[in-house]
């Protein structure tokens, strides 16, 4: 996962409490609720200059840090941007 991604994601996870964020970290259990999902989405779109396609806006995308990063990196690739390795 891109460090810019984890850096913007961590403040939304109030129950992470300093533990390491991995691809399998479950976002809802770590405190991401529906209102925050929207703010997180806006933050991602602003930071990476992308728009996630509407069909990615479902529970599966927001399930884990890895699934969300998968959607973000796919959108970056579609925009022709570069994706740095985690």
């Amino acid at each position: 996962m891109d460090p810019r991604f984890t850096e913007l994601l961590i403040p939304f996870l109030k129950h992470l409490r300093g533990r390491e964020l991995t691809e399998t970290s479950p976002l809802p259990a770590l405190g991401l609720d529906s209102m925050q999902s929207i703010e997180l989405l806006f933050a991602i779109e602003d930071t990476f200059g992308i728009a996630l396609p509407d069909e990615d806006l479902n529970d599966a995308t927001f399930a884990t840090a890895g699934s969300l990063w998968g959607a973000v990196s796919a959108a970056l690739a579609a925009e022709g941007g570069t994706v740095s390795a985690a």
Partner: protein, 395 residues
């Protein structure tokens, strides 16, 4: 149905309608008394047990009636005409049974589903908690685990039928959960729990739903967790949410349809026709408006039913928005049907308890609809979901 793991919507067997009619007749017979006394409709529950309707959604291989979503909604509409409290009792029990069918482990399914089908197991749900304000997906009451199993100790402010249920599905924070959002769903037999009741039950309407406050404490084996630990949010999204919004809406629509039907029958009686001017434009407009509201909710109910039957992912914003819109619209419009009818027929038949129109009771009952998982809360969720669907793709 692809998502909630009910059996595909098959045409209801002919006897299904008879079973439902029998329960509706029992509900109608006792509704005035259970409303007056704010008591649970024990006779109607007995009829649900005897007719097999408690097993409405239980697959036939477990001895159930094998009904799908359509059968559940049709039963809710019919019983809702007689007594909306009784209809809600059945609809909510069926949600619980669907959660067990779709998410319980094999041992628990084999134990519970035949008993539900045989009418021996009426299920209540304990998914609201003081402090969460109807928000289902977080819990501060935590399950503790030891070598003897899972320890339950939980206060629940509102448990419909809780004094009469044979078993409970209880949501609690999972053992060792990292956050209040990791909620588990646990089944407990009545005899596995010490149950104490607090407070009185004296509501405005839905009085026969007998939704009392309970404290539940006890110990259950680990395999009575339904789904995996922390898996309640998935069950809520796939089973409880859709079946609650569809089932409640059908109950309310049944109640509003019953109210309009009784008013129309009364107006068409010869004695009434001699007294009431049926060509009054005001009366006709009010009847039209009531019927329009009913047709609107009915169309939305059936459309949402088809969406849930066909959807592969109910979590998308368009699908969630449709499910929430159904609940909000049914709650508002069914209540307004009764308001229209009270204005249409006036004080004697609109406001007095002993009128055969039963508008007074129906108005009190349907006043709860906007509060039963609050419309205000759903509008907040829908505003957020609307932001996630800038294209506005209606489901």
């Amino acid at each position: 149905m692809t998502v909630t793991t009910l059996e595909p919507a098959a045409p209801a067997p002919p006897e299904m309608a008879e079973r439902v009619a029998q329960v509706a007749a029992t509900a109608a017979e006792h509704a005035a008394r259970t409303d007056r006394e704010a008591n649970f409709p024990v006779e109607t529950l007995a009829a649900m047990r005897e007719t097999g309707l408690l097993g409405l959604l239980v697959p036939t291989r477990y001895g159930g009636l094998g009904g799908g979503l359509r059968a559940l909604l049709d039963a809710s509409l019919t019983i809702g005409r007689a007594d909306v409290s009784a209809a809600m009792i059945l609809a909510m029990h069926c949600q619980q049974s669907a959660a067990i069918t779709g998410h319980a482990g094999p041992r628990l399914r084999e134990e519970l589903l035949p008993r539900i089908a045989a009418g021996q197991l009426y299920l209540a749900s304990v998914t609201t908690e003081a402090g969460t304000g109807g928000h289902l997906l977080s819990s501060d009451a935590e399950l503790a685990a030891d070598e003897g199993g899972l320890l339950i100790d939980r206060f629940a402010p509102i448990v419909t039928g809780g004094a009469h249920a044979d078993g409970f599905l209880i949501s609690m924070r999972g053992p060792d959960a990292a956050s209040p959002s990791e909620v588990s769903l646990v089944y407990a037999h009545r005899e596995q729990l010490r149950i104490s009741r607090s407070g009185d039950w004296q509501p405005l309407g839905m009085r026969a739903s007998h939704s009392v406050a309970l404290r539940l404490a006890g110990r259950v084996p680990e395999d009575q967790v339904v789904g995996e630990h922390g898996g309640f949010s998935r069950i809520a999204g796939q089973v409880f949410g859709p079946l609650a919004h569809l089932g409640w809406s059908a109950c309310w629509l049944g109640a509003a349809s019953g109210a309009l039907s009784r008013v129309l029958r009364m107006l068409r009686e010869p004695a009434s026709r001699a007294r009431v001017n049926l060509s009054s434009e005001l009366l006709l407009t009010r009847l039209s408006r009531a019927r329009q509201r009913i047709d609107t909710v009915h169309a939305l109910l059936r459309h949402t039913e088809r969406m849930v039957d066909r959807a592969t992912d109910l979590s998308t914003p368009p699908n969630q928005l449709l499910l929430n819109s159904l609940k909000i619209t049914a709650a508002e419009q069914c209540h307004l049907v009764v308001e229209d009818l009270i204005d249409a027929v006036g004080m004697r038949h609109g406001y007095l308890r002993d009128s055969p129109t039963r508008l007074e009771r129906t108005l009190r009952d349907l006043r709860s609809a906007a509060l039963n998982y609050s419309n205000d809360r759903l509008h907040l969720a829908d505003g957020r979901l609307a932001l996630l669907d800038p294209e506005v793709r209606c489901a």
